[in-house]
Symmetry: C2
Subunit: 448 residues, 2 copies
Amino acid sequence: MDLEKTIEELTNLISNRKIKDLREFLENINSADFPSILENVDEDKIIMIYRLLSKGKAAEVFVELDPEDQEKLINCLTDTEIKNVMNEIYMDDAVDLIEEMPSNVVKRILTNTKSENRKIINELLKYTDDTAGSLMTTEFIDLKENMTVETAFEFIRRKALKKETVYNCYVLSIDRKLLGIVDIKDLLAAERNQLIKDIMDSNVVKVNTLEDQEEVTKMFDKYDCVALPVVDQEDRLVGIITIDDAIDVIQEETLEDFEKMAAITPAEDTYFKTSVFKHAKNRIVWLLVLMLSAMLTGAVIENYEAAISTLPLLVAFIPMIMDTGGNCGSQSSTLVIRGLAMDEISTKDILKVMWKEFRVSLLVGTVLAFANGVRIMIQYQDLKIAVVVGLTLVCTVAMAKLLGCILPILAKKLKLDPAIMAAPLITTIVDTLSVLAFFNIATIMFQL
Amino acid sequence: MDLEKTIEELTNLISNRKIKDLREFLENINSADFPSILENVDEDKIIMIYRLLSKGKAAEVFVELDPEDQEKLINCLTDTEIKNVMNEIYMDDAVDLIEEMPSNVVKRILTNTKSENRKIINELLKYTDDTAGSLMTTEFIDLKENMTVETAFEFIRRKALKKETVYNCYVLSIDRKLLGIVDIKDLLAAERNQLIKDIMDSNVVKVNTLEDQEEVTKMFDKYDCVALPVVDQEDRLVGIITIDDAIDVIQEETLEDFEKMAAITPAEDTYFKTSVFKHAKNRIVWLLVLMLSAMLTGAVIENYEAAISTLPLLVAFIPMIMDTGGNCGSQSSTLVIRGLAMDEISTKDILKVMWKEFRVSLLVGTVLAFANGVRIMIQYQDLKIAVVVGLTLVCTVAMAKLLGCILPILAKKLKLDPAIMAAPLITTIVDTLSVLAFFNIATIMFQL
């Protein structure tokens, strides 16, 4: 879609009051494109545009808006209009909406929701955030095993438009236990008089309502499905999670990992929506912790004041050693943290990872030491300094790479989030150790 | 699936030679679970197990294996067996397979592929990596606009099992231009005598074969679709991308971003599959670059040797100032890099972002300076040092946060990958500037 052209045409149609054309034009715009369009339209036109949409489209567009705009819109809508939206949207979207709105708006929404739906919404609201239960919707196609394909088609035809997905249909027993899944593809390919139980796949991949949402995304990734059935503690089917919601979780969890690994408390909103004060709050805790630990390195240096007065040149190498250690550590920790997150590395692999990182560190450390040695010989013609710095680099790289792999795995073993053992913390720890190594090696070599 | 139990039962069935039970047991295991099962089975049993699978299942399992195991398996299979696999797998998987295999295996695969498929494979191989064309498959359901719903059903019934997805069907003109999409849900809900053109959605979201794969994933995310049609330069439909492949791309690109932001050249393989030498190679380039730039900070310190001899205590604050600057910079750059990647921040927003980061930095800097001041007053009772360090911290945080947002946006403007302006590089630059600020402020305050 060409945003500028669309808005131009829209503005034209509005100012010329061509309502019929306008209605048709709006109906042809993809719902997902509405937020960026409405952002570029005068506020007083928004409600007018919204009222021209068909019932189904209006609900679709409503779901795409962000909470702020949803709230503004609700405040302009009549009770009947709210009723229409609440009748059309899927239960998982209704729950998301209610979780985001202030209580007075929630009250208005709920009084305009059918009592059966209100009951479902209340049930869904009980699931804690980040669980499969909180992601699921209750609208799915449920078949019986003794239906024929023909009957199933008739059943689906009547229900299809009210359900979030028909791609997979679920075969339930009388007590709502999940017996099997029928992919619509197999239903289409089957003979009309075949029984559902003969074409269903009874080997079902499913999750429990309490399962962590990260596990849910891994199952989507592994099993290449478009929807995942969710069962309760008694193994009864209570809902399904559709793949679009799984993708949103993947994006959300990735951003959270990035933030944690950069020593930021994950924010709930986007960059611009988060206030300056909130940004500062999300960043200050880790900065204070890391600043205090960095003072340790300072204390180590203070300890070697005598050595520094004798050989002030030593100080000039501290930044390079600290930075290299930090970078090496963050390389290893990033790879290990991602490996753990993607289940490519498990905590059992700790020795295997350490052995790999150790060999990598020897290779990398040697190259860095050599490059530095050449530089020092050219600049200072001092072999002893070159040797001291070189040895320190090899030690630093080895320590950094080992800590970079051990700490995240250890965190995982202790049921902590490995992402906290990322670059910032590793860097601070390696700094102290590398400065300590540097002065110790220097003291011995120069007999300071 | 309980892996241990499955393997135990499998081993039992094999040793008791219950071939019929074994066949049924295998057929009920999800194809995606086979790689982890086969990993735990003796090598000589693998080919036996594989030969017990039905044709369709065998192809499904084959696709799930990683390239190494696929190669081993192919070397054990007869030409007829390879033919079966190549007849059953989807074209995008066939292309992936051929790209991964060594040339002698490729030759064997292609001689056992139907000539029509060989032609398609060769066409698909021409698309450069990371484009929509390289992700697509050519198996989709194409309908004509004058078909009735009834005819369409008949058509789909005959083709369904051979197509990767039937969830969306594509309506083509005679010259294969894409006229519209029919979601299977709408097809199911329609009356049997309706015409396809009356139920199709002619407002189609599609991509060009040359589109970057990252854009493709963004479209899946935005439009919540399960497949995306791919058209060539003449707007003819040439293939579709299914959502499972889009998710793989999302995972792959995320890992790449993590690696780049930790100063690692992205690897093609998983952590364990990458050799020690390759790991070292992927990490050394940036380490060398960053080490050389860190020397600048050393040079700055060298310049102030006189100041250090007069007041050696100054050195003890260097690590804390460097680390804090690095951490502040990496917080900002991470948020901005992610914001750019998710299209939440655009390069036009540079002033808005700078203003936000500047205000955040004042808040954060003041808190850090104050905390440090208290510490210094307790430890050294030296107000002057407290003021020098405090001022330096405020300057450092401001510089770090501004550089952390400016450099990634600038990189994007210059069509470079913003991810290279991540923590490691920002840290090195901020180090030099902060040390410079520190000694300048100290020189003025102490008249050194």
